[in-house]
Amino acid sequence: MTGSILEIDNIGVPREETPESPRELARIMRELHDAGTPMAAVGGGTKLHIGNLLRSACVAVRTGRLSGIVEYEPDNLTVSVLAGTPLLELQETLRAHNQFLPLDPPLAERATLGGIVACNSSGPLRFRYGTVRDMLIGIGIVHADGTPTKAGGKLVKNVSGYDMCKLYTGSLGTLGIFSDLTFRVQPRSDAVATVMLGYVSLREALEATQAILRADLTPDALEALSGSAFAQLTGDAPVAPWVLLVRFGEADGAVRWQVDRLREIASAGGGKIANALGTQESEEFWGRAASARENGNGAEPLLVKCSVMYKSAPDTGQFMADLGDRLQARTLLYCHCGSCILYGRYEWPQGAYTEDVLLREIAALRRHCAAAGGHAVVEKIRSDVKRSLDVWGYQGPAIELMRRIKHEFDPDGLLNPGRFVGGI
């Protein structure tokens, strides 16, 4: 296929390949490898903004035609799919057996499972169910030289050799391109409810989450949204400076018990109930909420992901809000309260700030997060700024080990060159 308009950070891909089978994927990669051609895996294209600038233009290996369910065994709670399968398509198949894959990254209708695993994408449900590493149990991967290998299987417990699934999860296509993936799935909850509580600050919302856990409630998700982020998501006027979204999923009686209990906790902790949703409304709402941080209004966006420790999270939220004020940006903040991951989405008119201003702000944010025991990853920023920025900001000593692993698996540096941590 030629004449494509696909670009990765404004670098056009010279060619696209669209394998239809794992075997064809291996053949294509072997040919590219033998010709010394760099290559980049592309699934639904929802996360191409993640990562450093490519060191060289890459042939795009698109997985769109490598799609479909390979084997679904509801009575083993496992499913195997080809890597290019969109998440939403898988969920529709699982739904017929009242099961689901508890992953809710943004843009499920386009995001493919290969891309989700490669980027270790997650969403609010990670509070209860964990992330890709807790669900991926088997993998087929083609390495840089076209050699296919497999690891794991369709077993929920397996210590036969190294856990290669962990190595490949989040490796951003730098160790190989996935052909197929096997996940453990979960039964769907009989009932789902969502309670929305307004708070004057992120600190109070976070304190409420601790009270919720101490009271033995078992929420699916605990998300705090800044008033502006909540308003954009719901289309309503802001109801409070911060809104805590609490989702429960259990049998009907257990959901009702938790909602009642939460009302007591909220009134004791200064939270005001803004809204409560039942099962059907909840599912629609959380479907939209998962994608919220990716949906902008067309202005120039900056998307940062900050991970810190609990004690520092309110200050980090404030620091992120102040950053938006300094840039006079439309600022939307989202906090996974259970894991203290804060996403900040900033929007301003195209080209309003020079590279220097943005680099200075990001450096300040990084210093803040490091002091808070964490780190900040820039997920989306104007491509020209990336010339002077390591978007990952990882400085740990383990980078040497990571480089050695990369060298062992891809000695010629042909897979997604430069985009991963430390320019791997």
């Binding site: 709670l77 417990k157 601790q210 078992t218 810190v308």
Partner: protein, 378 residues
Amino acid sequence: MLSLTRMKSILELDFENRQAVVQPGVINLDVSRAAAPAGYYFAPDPSSQMVSTIGGNLAENAGGPHCLKYGTTTNHVTALEVVLPSGNIMELGSRASDCPGYDLVGVFTGSEGTLGVVTRAVLKLSRLPQSAKTLLAAFGSLKDACDAVSSIIACGIIPAALEMMDRRMIAAVEAARNAGLPTNVDAVLIIELDGLTAALPQQADHVANLCLQSGCKELRVAKSEEERQAIWKSRKEAFGTVGRMTRDLYMHDAVVPRNRLSDVVSRIYECADRAGVPLASLAHAGDGNLHPILLFDIRKEGEEERIMSLVHEMLKICVDAGGTLSGEHGIGSEKCEYMDMLFSAADLTAMQRLRVAFNPDELCNPGKILPSRFHSYC
């Protein structure tokens, strides 16, 4: 030999972040005991948890009865300080979520000491469940018990634990402890449901009905915490009681898909019957993790060869059913030659690449996991 038993401090319990920072020589159960007053615990619960250490749990990616619902050790660790074979100290992962870069904590966990040595671990703590309900179901045949397991897994309830013991194992436990397990049955299932008090009665009814539909002969529900603890004590000490029945034993550790359980279990027993080797069985049945225990006397002429050939045959039955060589005990040196049953040369080469990145000269635990041809000194 590096002994980590003197590194036995719990360095920090951080309930706000639900983390415990511990040294490798800390006993598994001591983490949960320390966290319990605040309502937290460390979820992985190998049957050895009263004596096994966190360092060993990490090296083997230990499981346990409750990993059916809560996952194994690897799902409960967020950062490690390790010493590499070079002597360099390295921080892997981070206490804050989603450390950028490859998941080195994930690959290190379960690496059986071949990548280096853990000197400090940041573990995830879980909230103690509000309630637990434990059922004991007795069956007239192993097949009925396996069918009950499969139907529970398929029904939309994930029990906290779903354990199976066969007739000979029940007899061993009763002979040693007089625990009051139903005798004259071919199998018992221990089924534990946990979570919100409001959710449990309905789940327990559902599970009880599924057991009855699969031919359950007797069903008990623990009425008090003491009864519940007594049931678990009989299960956790079961392996120890087998020693009274035999001079020597070999404990298997294979895993099969949960929907193949009945078929695989019957083939394993046929295979042991044909060889005339008595079998006692424990299983983390909900995970598909089987622990058939072969009972024998090694002093008999040719017994070792006979047992090892039976072991091989049983592994093959599991692998042919889509299963694997080990669920929680690891490959070590005993099973490394069997890795070819499961993996292609290319699959194993990928694993070797990982090892080489950490341990190029094979100074740490040489000869383990991969077949001998992958080891440099051979």
